[in-house]
C-alpha cells in the first residue's frame, strides 16, 4: 500500500481522475441547465455518442479539431431541438423519451460509423496545454495544470454555469421556470422558450462532451461512451442541481475510478476482486449522498410538462 502513496503515483492518479471526470462534467453541467428549468433528459448518452462521432468523422476527414467541436455542438443542438420539441411541446413523458433518444443515438452513431468509416483510424486530439508558471509548480503543476484544453474547458464551465444560473436574469428565468412555471408565465417569461433554450444548450454540451471524449481517446467505437451519459445525469442529482455540486460529483466518480485503476495496476487490489473494485465509484457516490444528507429539494416542476391554464 505504501507504493500508492508516492508522489508520482498520487500525481498521476489525480491527473487521471480529472481526465475521466471531463466528459461527465460537460454533459452533467448541460443537464443541470435543463433540469433546473424542469426538463429531464435521459438521452444524454446517445447525444454524446452522436457528438463524438460527428467530431471524429470531421477530424478524420481533415476538418480539424475546432471544426470537429463545432460539428459536435451542432449535432447536440439538433438533438436538443428534437428533445425539447418532444418534452416541451408534445409534453411526452420525459424519462422515457430520453431513453428513446439514447437508443436512437446509440444505434445511429454506430450505423454511421460502420457505413461511413468502416475500419477505424486514430485521430490526434488537442495537445497538452501547460499553463505557464502554474504548470511548473511541484506536484500540483502536473496534477492540475498540464492537461489538454478540453479538460480546462470542462472545469471552466462550472463557474460559468454557476454564474449564469445564479447571477443573471437568464438564470433567474431558468430557475423560476423550473420552480414555478405558472408564476413565471404570468410574469411574462416564456416557459417553453426557456426550456427549449436550456435543453438545446444542455444537448450541445453533451455533444461537446462526446467530442471531448472521442478526441481525447483519439478514436471512435460502437458505444464509445459506455454509459457515461447516464452517470452524468445521475451526477446532476448528486450535485443538487448546482454546478459546483455537480463538479464535486464528477470528481468523486472520476477520482475513485482512477484510484481503483491505480490500485489494480500496483497489484494492491487482487485480480479476484476486480469487479468488486469496479463497483466502487457507483457505491461511493451513493454513500456520499447518504452521508451528506442533503435536503435540497429538486426543482418543483422537474419532469412536469407545463401547459398554460392546465
Amino acid at each position: 500500500m505504501g507504493e500508492f502513496f508516492t508522489s508520482a503515483v498520487l500525481v498521476s492518479t489525480v491527473a487521471s481522475g480529472l481526465r475521466l471526470s471531463t466528459s461527465y462534467l460537460f454533459a452533467a453541467i448541460g443537464e443541470t441547465f435543463g433540469q433546473r428549468s424542469g426538463v429531464l433528459n435521459l438521452g444524454v448518452d446517445g447525444i454524446m455518442l452522436l457528438g463524438a462521432f460527428g467530431a471524429y468523422y470531421t477530424v478524420l476527414n481533415g476538418g480539424g479539431l475546432w471544426l470537429g467541436m463545432v460539428v459536435a455542438i451542432t449535432v447536440g443542438l439538433v438533438m436538443g431541438l428534437a428533445m425539447a420539441f418532444t418534452s416541451v411541446t408534445l409534453q411526452a413523458e420525459q424519462g422515457i423519451s430520453g431513453i428513446g433518444f439514447y437508443l436512437f443515438g446509440l444505434g445511429l452513431s454506430d450505423l454511421l460509423f460502420q457505413k461511413l468509416v468502416g475500419t477505424p483510424l486514430p485521430i490526434r486530439g488537442f495537445p497538452e496545454l501547460r499553463i505557464p508558471l502554474l504548470a511548473d509548480l511541484p506536484v500540483v503543476g502536473e496534477m492540475l495544470f498540464s492537461h489538454s484544453i478540453v479538460v480546462y474547458a470542462a472545469f471552466l464551465l462550472v463557474p460559468v454555469g454557476a454564474f449564469v444560473l445564479n447571477r443573471t436574469t437568464l438564470g433567474l428565468k431558468i430557475r423560476s421556470v423550473g420552480e414555478n412555471p405558472e408564476a413565471a408565465d404570468t410574469l411574462g417569461v416564456s416557459v417553453a422558450g426557456v426550456r427549449y433554450f436550456t435543453v438545446m444548450t444542455g444537448s450541445a454540451l453533451a455533444g461537446l462532451g462526446g467530442a471531448a471524449l472521442a478526441t481525447e481517446l483519439g478514436i471512435f467505437q460502437q458505444n464509445l461512451t459506455a454509459g457515461q451519459g447516464f452517470i452524468a445525469v445521475a451526477l446532476v442529482y448528486f450535485g443538487a442541481w448546482r454546478p459546483v455540486g455537480v463538479m464535486a460529483g464528477s470528481l468523486l466518480y472520476g477520482l475513485v475510478a482512477s484510484v481503483v485503476l491505480q490500485l489494480k495496476t500496483l497489484g494492491i487490489i487482487p485480480r479476484s476482486a476486480s469487479e468488486l473494485a469496479a463497483m466502487l465509484p457507483a457505491v461511493l457516490t451513493i454513500l456520499a449522498l447518504v452521508v451528506a444528507v442533503q435536503r435540497e429539494r429538486q426543482p418543483a416542476a422537474l419532469t412536469k410538462p407545463y401547459e398554460r391554464g392546465a
Binding site: A8, P120, P122, G218, I219, Q222, L261, T265, A277
Partner: protein
C-alpha cells in the same frame, strides 16, 4: 383497451394468413450451382478491430478464395450482445437453410447446444471454444491465443528497458484470460526479473477506462504494453501518445499507432474455415474441434514493417515461434 386488443389480434391474423413459415432468403442464381451459404452471428461490431472483426475478415477471405459472392453467400448479424436474440438469430438462419451457421461468441455455446439437434442437416460452428457437445453437426473453433501471447511476451521482456510490462484486460474470462496468461508467461520466461502488471478493467467496452489503465501502467514504469478486447483502442492511443511500445492481438493493430506497434497476433480463421467447409461439402457436418495456433498458420505474428525492431529481438521472437511449433517450448494454458 379493447380497441388495442382488437387491432393487435387483427394484425396477427392478417400476418399469419399472409406469411408462410419463412421464405428462402435468396438462393442460387438459377444456373448450375447453389452458392455455399454461411451465416455468422457475432456479439460486437464487425469493425471492432478485435473479436468480431477477426471472424468477419476470415469469412471475407474465404469468400474471395472460393470465388466471390456468387459462390459463397455471406450473411452477418453483428452487434448481437443479447444472448437470447443471438439464439433466435442462429435458429432462424438454420431454418432458412444456411449451410453453415457460425455462432461467434463463447456466450452463445449453451444455446447452440439446444438448437443444433433441431437442425440435423445444418452445420454449426461455435467459437471460441473447444467443445462440440458430442453433436455430429457442431464444429468448435478456438484460438490458442496464449501462444502468440507468449511469443510477444518474450519479445516484450527483451525490449523493455524499464523492466516493467503492462497488460490491460477486460474481464478475466475466456479468450482474454488465455491471452493475458500466455503473455505474462512469456515475459517471465524470457526474464523473470521483469515486472508484469495486469489490470482487468471490468468492461469490454469502456474505452476511457482502458486509456487511463494504460496511463496507470505507464506511471508504474511500464514501457511496453499489451491488451485485449475492443476497448483496448483507448490504451493503444495512450501508448502512441506516450511513446510506449504496443503488442496487439486478434487483429492487426498497426494502423492504430504505426510508430509504436511492434507486432500483432493476427487471427486467420480462414485456416479452419476452409477445412470446415470442405468437410461439410463432403457430408460431415461437425464433430471437429479446431484450434488456430502458430503451427497451422491460423495465428500469425504480424510484425509492423514501420517499426524498427532490433534484429536480435526479432530473431528471438521467431525462435520462440519455432520452439512452440516443434514443441520444445510449452506454453502454459489456463489456471
Amino acid at each position: 383497451m379493447r380497441k388495442l386488443i382488437v387491432v393487435v389480434a387483427a394484425l396477427a391474423l392478417v400476418a399469419a394468413a399472409c406469411g408462410g413459415a419463412g421464405d428462402e432468403a435468396g438462393g442460387g442464381e438459377g444456373a448450375a450451382e447453389q452458392p455455399f451459404r454461411i451465416a455468422v452471428v457475432a456479439p460486437s461490431a464487425i469493425n471492432d478491430l478485435a473479436f468480431s472483426q477477426s471472424i468477419y475478415d476470415g469469412l471475407v477471405a474465404i469468400q474471395e478464395e472460393m470465388g466471390g459472392p456468387t459462390k459463397v453467400e455471406l450473411a452477418v448479424t453483428d452487434g448481437t450482445f443479447v444472448v437470447e436474440d443471438a439464439a433466435a438469430a442462429i435458429r432462424d438462419y438454420a431454418a432458412q437453410g444456411y449451410d453453415l451457421v457460425i455462432a461467434h461468441g463463447s456466450q452463445y455455446g449453451t444455446s447452440l447446444q439446444e438448437i443444433a439437434p433441431d437442425f440435423p442437416d445444418v452445420s454449426f460452428a461455435w467459437g471460441t471454444a473447444g467443445d462440440t457437445f458430442g453433436l455430429p453437426n457442431v464444429f468448435a473453433y478456438e484460438a490458442a491465443s496464449n501462444q502468440g501471447g507468449y511469443v510477444m511476451g518474450v519479445m516484450a521482456a527483451a525490449l523493455s528497458e524499464s523492466g516493467v510490462v503492462g497488460i490491460i484486460g477486460p474481464i478475466e474470462v475466456g479468450d482474454a484470460k488465455l491471452y493475458v496468461d500466455g503473455f505474462a508467461a512469456g515475459v517471465k520466461a524470457q526474464d523473470p526479473t521483469v515486472d508484469v502488471t495486469i489490470n482487468y478493467t471490468g468492461s469490454f467496452s469502456d474505452v476511457a477506462l482502458a486509456a487511463e489503465a494504460a496511463r496507470a501502467a505507464i506511471g508504474a514504469g511500464a514501457d511496453v504494453l499489451t491488451g485485449t478486447a475492443q476497448m483496448v483502442v483507448g490504451a493503444v492511443g495512450v501508448a502512441q501518445e506516450e511513446g510506449v511500445l504496443w503488442f496487439g492481438t486478434q487483429a492487426d493493430q498497426t494502423q492504430l499507432a504505426p510508430e509504436i506497434v511492434v507486432a500483432s497476433q493476427v487471427y486467420h480463421w480462414e485456416v479452419v474455415l476452409r477445412d470446415m467447409i470442405d468437410l461439410i461439402q463432403q457430408g460431415t457436418l461437425g464433430g471437429e474441434a479446431y484450434v488456430i495456433d502458430l503451427a497451422n498458420g491460423g495465428e500469425e505474428i504480424a510484425f509492423n514493417p514501420g517499426f524498427d525492431l532490433p534484429a536480435d529481438v526479432k530473431q528471438l521472437g521467431q525462435d520462440t515461434i519455432q520452439g512452440i511449433i516443434d514443441g520444445s517450448i510449452v506454453v502454459p494454458a489456463g489456471g
